[in-house]
């Protein structure tokens, strides 16, 4: 950030909030149409029943759970970048953090819809919440599904509040430059922030504590998601490696999504000087690390299934690699473990085309990974009599999946135009403060 002044940072970032061009509206309309298609498919499913989705014995968790785990995973790197890198004082975090946090909030919101979509009777969703009722019926707090409700709700609330708390000083900057109704709206959103000594003092402590609390939370949330599977006794699921394996996978996919989103964003919003190639270089290096963990985890799963001597465990892993899902399995290995190795080359880490290609491949690979884990194990349990395949995805599932991706990008497009996508106050903090002693 060296070479910028406070005013230049404000001008640069506030410039992104100017009236958008036609391309923006076309993208927005495209995404909104996708959201409507998804909502219509969900409406159809509610009207006709859960049979509209391809979930049937023995594979009762279809693409809704795949998408749920995928979006929770995407949500992870936002908090990783903003909280963990904040605690480690990594300087390349600052320009990325705001967009990554927004990505987290939108991805968790999208993920949170899938358990609702998967419910046959969504209007009684409140039954899974612990509320006092006549018959003293409570959710079972030993169930990983209830852990999930608590963990995901906590993650959504904490991610949103962390994002908003960081936004408040920037909203005050927008307010102070805005006129008319915009000034009033940003005035409300900024809560009357003035940047007084008292406010900065408390804000600094609170933000640090937010980061300190969000860091273990981010690890716990995907661990809890992994226990949805690992606490079941299905072969291929019942494994102690699942929590670290899922956390690493989540960070892997989240970092790839950060690159996928920010490369077009920096171009469209003209933020090339702030979101520099050096930052993408660092993200790509982290992806190499998480990619190696993924490769190691895949190998470990196979080794343990062989070494355990458990026939059912061996069978499921042999089936994954050679059976019905083999093509997707090898695509998964290629996209998640082999493709990121290209980032060992500095050229690949510092050029747009390989960065974007590999990050999209990783997103694809991570979706396949969840598909294979979730659909293969229940279809290939202990008794061959009960083996079966997933009969979907049906057109309803495809529609809802399109709707979820559209909703995510729709929210991100709105964010990029209405809120500062880079934290101005934190960027300024990284600059040497204006000193008369240093002025010419």
């Amino acid at each position: 950030m060296q070479g910028f002044s406070y005013s230049e940072i404000d001008d640069k970032v506030l410039g992104t909030l100017a009236a958008p061009g036609k391309v923006y509206y076309v993208c927005l309309a495209f995404c909104f149409t996708g959201v409507l298609i998804g909502a219509s498919c969900w409406g159809y499913q509610i009207a006709t029943g859960l049979g509209a989705a391809g979930v049937m014995h023995p594979v009762n968790w279809g693409t809704y759970l795949v998408n749920f785990v995928f979006w929770v995973g995407i949500a992870h790197s936002g908090t990783l970048i903003s909280a963990i890198l904040y605690l480690f004082k990594a300087p390349w975090r600052t320009p990325l953090a705001r967009s990554a946090e927004a990505m987290t909030v939108f991805a968790v919101s999208t993920a949170g819809l899938f358990p609702l979509i998967h419910l046959g009777r969504v209007w009684i969703v409140y039954w899974i919440l612990p509320y006092p009722n006549q018959r003293n019926l409570w959710p079972n707090f030993q169930s990983p599904l209830v852990f999930d409700v608590i963990a995901i709700s906590t993650y959504l609330i904490v991610s949103f509040l962390f994002w908003y708390t960081g936004l408040v000083p920037d909203l005050a900057i927008v307010r102070d430059r805005a006129r008319g109704i915009r000034r009033r709206i940003y005035g409300w959103l900024s809560l009357g922030w003035t940047g007084s000594d008292r406010q900065w003092n408390h804000h600094g402590s609170a933000y640090l504590l937010f980061a300190a609390l969000a860091t273990p939370l981010v690890i716990s949330v995907h661990s809890v998601v992994s226990w949805d599977f690992a606490l079941g006794i299905a072969p291929g699921w019942h494994s102690t490696i699942f929590a670290p394996y899922f956390v690493a996978g989540a960070i892997h996919s989240g970092l790839a999504m950060v690159i996928t989103l920010l490369i077009p964003l920096r171009r469209i919003l003209g933020l090339e000087e702030i979101l520099t190639m050096k930052i993408f270089d660092n993200v790509a290096k982290t992806i190499v690390f998480t990619g190696l963990i993924m490769g190691y985890s895949y190998l470990t799963e196979f080794f343990i299934s062989w070494y355990s001597g458990n026939i059912a465990e061996r069978a499921i892993f042999e089936w994954r690699a050679t059976g019905h899902y083999a093509l997707l399995f090898w695509m998964m290995v290629m996209c998640n473990s082999l493709a990121p190795l290209v980032f060992f080359l500095k050229w690949a880490r510092t050029h747009i085309a390989p960065l974007l290609t590999i990050s999209v491949l990783i997103n694809l690979g991570m979706w396949y990974e969840r598909y294979i884990i979730i659909l293969s194990s229940p279809g290939h349990e202990f008794d061959p009599y009960s083996w079966g395949l997933f009969i979907g995805p049906t057109w309803v599932e495809y529609g809802i999946m399109l709707g979820s991706f559209s909703l995510f990008f729709f929210l991100f497009l709105l964010f990029a135009k209405f809120l500062p996508s880079v934290s101005m106050s934190e960027l300024k903090e990284e600059l040497p403060p204006p000193m008369r002693g240093q002025s010419v």
Partner: protein, 169 residues
């Protein structure tokens, strides 16, 4: 005695810090210091104590643990189901519930104490607030008696203030 408020606007941080040090030395009341960024130099010059937000957060986190465990144990005791001869209140799975509640309540108390201590939300900005304070200028509001006004203005100007205004009472 009726007190007067004076606002000094600064371009440079070292000038502001110099003014703050002189004001504190001469026992003038510094009502507020505005800055576009969090600044360690300003906090040191004002001698601000560490924020009490951390104590609120600790209380929130501990109450979250108690609430998480409490809720899980209470609900289990409503029915006292014994499964496989195990006690009806299994402690290990409840650690997860308690952990999530610990984080949730820690964060909620953290935010509440931030708003409480920072006097947020505010419906109106102070009259003397200058929009440049969120951009690239620093500001200090000092209160003094009318007889000391000249001296305060002189200190602010000598420290390098770009502008000095009256800032209400």
């Amino acid at each position: 005695m009726k007190m007067k408020g004076l606002l000094g606007v600064f371009e440079y941080l070292d000038d502001l810090v110099k003014a703050l040090e002189v004001m504190r030395e001469k026992n003038y009341e510094i009502k507020a210091v505005y800055s576009p960024v969090r600044s360690r130099q300003i906090i040191q010059a004002l001698g601000l104590k560490p924020s009490p937000v951390r104590y609120f957060t600790l209380i929130g986190a501990i109450s979250g643990i108690a609430l998480g465990f409490g809720l899980a144990v209470y609900t289990a005791l409503q029915w006292k189901f014994i499964v496989s001869g195990k006690p009806p209140v299994p402690r290990v799975p409840y650690v997860i519930v308690a952990f999530e509640f610990c984080i949730l309540f820690g964060v909620l108390w953290n935010l509440a104490s931030l708003w409480l201590n920072s006097r947020l939300p505010k419906l109106r900005l102070p009259e003397h607030y200058d929009p440049r304070f969120s951009g690239n200028r620093f500001g200090v509001v000092v209160t003094c008696t009318p007889s000391a006004q000249e001296q305060v203005v002189a200190i602010l100007n000598e420290s390098g203030a770009e502008e000095v205004h009256e800032a209400g009472e």
